[in-house]
């Protein structure tokens, strides 16, 4: 590779990372990226971008964020199961992520700081949000928290999180194996 250049540009992600899990994962991914000057390939694509940004990892990272937030929100609903007049909270995220990942939608590339993002959102710009659904029913008699639904959502969320972790772990492991030029062990 003769066309590798070294330039001294720090790579900063444009989006703020809200939750500690994200920063933890981000730090992990950063530590595996090249430190200091980034390697830029001929087409202007950075190695870190190729290895991390253009894979499924940013989406997985975001869904881990959402799962962590959701566990907090479900925990809050369960803690308030006997609070009169409490309105349950919900995290919405998947639909927005699905839209951001929809390749059939148009998307403008921002190449300058003055550019406005256009069309489909960047995965990095999709953030989970906490909402209060309008729901006038009273399943428990004092508020709209239904303990069975919350417990089911809790279990579902936990499995989703474990899946995300497993996926990310596998991806990092594969990268690591490629970097060290060895084959993956058959059992993981």
């Amino acid at each position: 590779m003769t066309n590798l250049r070294w330039i001294g540009c720090a790579r900063e992600d444009s989006h703020g990372l809200g939750t500690p899990i994200a920063s933890l994962i981000d730090r992990l991914s950063r530590s595996k990226r090249m430190r200091g000057p980034s390697t830029v390939m001929e087409g202007g694509v950075m190695l870190g971008e190729l290895l991390f940004q253009r894979t499924a990892l940013p989406a997985v990272k975001k869904s881990l964020d959402a799962a962590m937030l959701r566990s907090r929100v479900i925990g809050n609903n369960i803690a308030n199961v006997n609070t009169p007049g409490y309105h349950r909270l919900e995290v919405s995220f998947e639909e927005e992520l699905r839209e951001a990942l929809d390749r059939t939608k148009l998307k403008g590339t921002t190449t300058d700081a003055g550019h406005m993002p256009i069309g489909r959102k960047d995965t990095g710009r999709v953030n989970p949000s906490v909402e209060r659904p309008v729901d006038q029913t009273l399943p428990s008699g004092v508020n709209n928290v239904d303990i069975d639904t919350e417990m089911a959502k809790l279990a579902e969320n936990q499995i989703l999180f474990n899946y995300g972790i497993r996926f990310a772990r596998g991806a990092y492991r594969k990268l690591n194996a490629a970097i060290q030029a060895r084959s993956l062990p058959l059992q993981q």
Binding site: H15, G16, G18, T19, P20, I21, L24, I25, L28, L64, D65, A67, M68, L69, S71, R72, V73, I74, G75, N76, N77, I78, A79, N80, V81, N82, T83, P84, Y86, L89, V91, L106, G108, M116, P117, I118, G119, K121, R125, V126, N127, P128, S129, V130, R132, I147, E150, M151, L154, A155, N157, Q158, F161, N162, I165, A168, R169, Y172
Partner: protein, 168 residues
């Protein structure tokens, strides 16, 4: 209680556990005093019950008001959306768990039982016994136990997720 931070999910579940434990204590006190006719404030013991309130939600207006950048209007359906600079909406509002607002005394009148031999009987032979229905207390106790268990499950789920994240 800080809203953010890795352990806030655990703190929220812990607040639920604490609230249910206080409720359980009130129920135990009611059952223990089911026939108490003398109290410090005079008269029979009055049933105690706890009132829960949701911890005030945190609204981070600093982040909500941050609307930088242009925002395009869509006037026909063929227009592409030009999204505004995406502020971290997940910080907008959070629950922060539950809190026992107060422990109230039940205002229902005491049960009047005819027992002239009782030292606290009035001139007609009636004793004012606490306004406690043991069946209601028992069902409340089961509800409190189940709610406590639900909080423990939520706590363990969050804890499990944190442990998984450490193994990434």
């Amino acid at each position: 209680m800080p809203v953010n931070g890795i352990f806030s999910g655990l703190r929220i579940s812990a607040s639920g556990m604490r609230a249910q434990r206080i409720r359980q204590n009130a129920i135990s006190s009611n059952l223990a005093n089911v026939e108490t006719t003398r109290t410090a404030e005079g008269g029979p013991y009055r049933r105690e019950y706890v009132v829960f309130t949701a911890e005030s939600e945190d609204k981070d207006t600093r982040l909500v008001n941050k609307r930088e950048g242009l925002r395009g209007m869509q006037t026909t359906e063929r227009h592409l959306p030009i999204p505004p600079d995406n502020f971290p909406r997940d910080e907008r509002f959070f629950g922060r768990g539950v809190r026992v607002a107060e422990i109230r005394k039940d205002t229902r009148p005491p049960k009047m039982v005819h027992d002239p031999s009782h030292p606290d009987a009035d001139q007609d032979g009636y004793v004012a016994l606490p306004n406690i229905n043991p069946v209601q207390e028992m069902t409340d106790m089961i509800a409190a136990t189940r709610a406590y268990e639900a909080n423990v499950t939520a706590f363990n789920a969050t804890k499990g997720m944190l442990m998984q994240a450490l193994q990434l």
